[in-house]
């Protein structure tokens, strides 16, 4: 279509495409222990993460997301990365961990993994304030 629109499906790993088709843990928790809602102002992609904790362990996480396939996949895979782990443990996660969990991200889509980590950090910060 437009000359800039040349993203090909081959750019996306099977994992990304699979998460897009079957996103995990979709939703928003009522009375969460922490809530992170972040938007990339440049591309308008948004991730809303809510977590519930029991004795510093994340027992449940729900996510909502708006945006391109890697953003939806990053949001979805993030929940798998954090459920059942301690807050201190997940606080050390970086965008590289999200990227690794998605197998591969195209160079121009690295910011999607960063957005997921921003949502996580925001939820952790919120839980520590509560």
């Amino acid at each position: 279509m437009a000359h800039s629109i040349t993203l090909s499906i081959q750019m996306y790993s099977q994992t990304i495409v699979e998460h897009l088709a079957n996103p995990r843990n979709v939703g928003e928790l009522q009375n969460p222990s922490g809530r992170g809602d972040v938007t990339n102002e440049a591309c308008m992609d948004r991730i809303l993460l809510t977590i519930k904790m029991d004795a510093e362990i994340i027992t449940t996480a729900k996510v909502k997301a708006e945006g391109c396939p890697p953003t939806i996949a990053a949001a979805s895979v993030l929940t798998e990365l954090i459920i059942g782990r301690s807050l201190d443990d997940v606080a050390r996660l970086t965008r590289h961990d999200v990227e690794a969990a998605l197998e591969h991200l195209p160079a121009m889509k690295k910011h999607c993994a960063a957005l997921a980590i921003d949502a996580l950090q925001s939820a952790i910060d919120d839980s520590r304030r509560r």
């Binding site: 279509m1 437009a2 897009l20 440049a42 909502k64 997301a65 396939p69 121009m108």
Partner: protein, 399 residues
């Protein structure tokens, strides 16, 4: 199952076209410039094809120049006129919604000191005739306005623009030319160069079931233009290079098929497109049709799924074997939206959620049903994921 709904990108080569082409790879492989029988058979095939192309657009065979495709046809028309007539003026007029083959060519000419006016379009995607009138000066040598837009299918008022051009010519503005990129309108609506009043018109083979790598430029008799390439005297000295005989034969055959089956094919495509839109708008409330719904080619439907991301819809559909395209793409964290939808004044949200579905006569009602069912399910799932609570997912879908 594979369902191809991206026929504005390219089309399947028709079986009749393949059958027509194949002999020119083996038995009749001659160079059309050769004097011997091999060459003469190839030459005859090229001239037959020229007549077939000319017949489709009501031109004379001598007015058809074979090129490598739509991009070359657009480049040859614009650069060719610019270079040949620059002594009379260095101003060109085009629109903001042209194909990159036109826009990038015009930008390159700006680098060489030409002045280019890029006309805006209204929300319906159509240029204003008064804007055309106002943009013309004595320096203007070319107006290039596409016939049908490749993203929305919207038709431009070419005949009315030609009238403006003719008025100017009657006043002595003889160096003013009119070009149109008709790559997306050929085979979809009648294209008659005399009725449209154009001096130059671009067309491409692979959008009408001919192979990729072949196209044609109509150059009205008496129109002087500079060539792009230098070499032999092929194509009446307008386009050097050994003729792509199989490609040209394929283009000719495809044009003949369009001409002979025109009404049957286009009414079938229109019926399918209308059915598609009727089903989608009934199934998904938050969808809008972009561009003028009346003045457009019958095979393109440009839709915006407001709130969703076109690329996510595209990839999720592709996963199910359904091919469409989008005007939305996010790269390195910035949205690079369609220049066409943006020029129409669509919001970022509308552009982001845009999807182009383009049909051919080879599509079936069953394929449309499959695609709509998949779209409804995918859009529903993505909508459930949306963080915004403005629209309840349950109220978005009628069934």
């Amino acid at each position: 199952m594979q369902i191809y709904l991206d026929n504005s990108a390219t089309t399947v080569v028709a079986k009749e076209v393949i059958d027509a082409i194949l002999p020119y790879f083996s038995g009749d492989f001659g160079n059309a410039q050769s004097v011997h029988a091999f060459g003469q058979r190839a030459k005859a095939a090229v001239e037959d094809a020229r007549r077939q192309v000319a017949a489709l657009i009501n031109a004379a065979p001598a007015e058809i120049v074979f090129v490598s495709g739509g991009t070359e046809a657009d480049n040859l028309a614009i650069r060719g006129i610019a270079e040949a007539h620059q002594a009379k003026g260095r101003h060109l007029i085009t629109t903001k919604i042209e194909h990159p083959a036109v826009l990038a060519m015009c930008e390159a000419l700006e680098q060489r000191g030409f002045r280019v006016t890029y006309l805006p379009v209204a929300r319906n995607g159509i240029v204003n005739l008064q804007d055309v009138r106002d943009a013309i000066s004595d320096e203007t040598i070319l107006i290039s306005v596409m016939h049908a837009n490749n993203e929305t299918g919207t038709l431009q008022p070419l005949e009315e623009i030609a009238e403006i051009v003719n008025e100017r010519r009657a006043q002595g503005h003889l160096h003013l030319h009119l070009h149109s990129d008709a790559v997306q309108s050929i085979g979809k609506i009648p294209v008659d160069v005399k009725k449209l009043g154009v001096d130059l018109l671009s067309l491409s083979g692979h959008k009408i079931h001919a192979p990729k790598g072949v196209g044609a430029l109509f150059i009205k008799k008496g129109t002087r233009l500079e060539k792009l390439f230098y070499g032999g005297h092929h194509e009446r000295d307008k386009r050097p290079g050994t003729e792509n005989v199989p490609g040209i034969v394929g283009l000719g055959k495809a044009c003949e098929l369009v001409r002979l089956n025109f009404t049957k094919r286009t009414s079938r495509i229109r019926e399918l497109r209308d059915y598609l839109e009727q089903r989608i708008t009934a199934a998904i409330f938050t969808v809008q049709i972009n561009g003028d719904v009346e003045r457009r080619v019958p095979n393109i439907s440009n839709l915006s799924f407001v709130g969703l991301d076109g690329e996510s819809l595209l990839i999720a559909l592709d996963l199910r074997g359904i091919a469409v395209s989008t005007g939305s793409a996010c790269a390195s964290g910035s949205l690079e939206p369609s220049h066409v939808l943006t020029a129409m004044g669509l919001s970022r949200q509308e552009v982001r959620g845009s999807l182009r579905i383009s049909l051919s006569a080879y599509n079936t009602r069953q394929e449309i049903d499959c695609a709509v069912d998949a779209l409804r399910e995918i859009a529903g799932r993505l909508r459930e994921m949306l963080p915004t609570d403005e629209v309840e997912a349950s109220s978005v879908f009628s069934s």
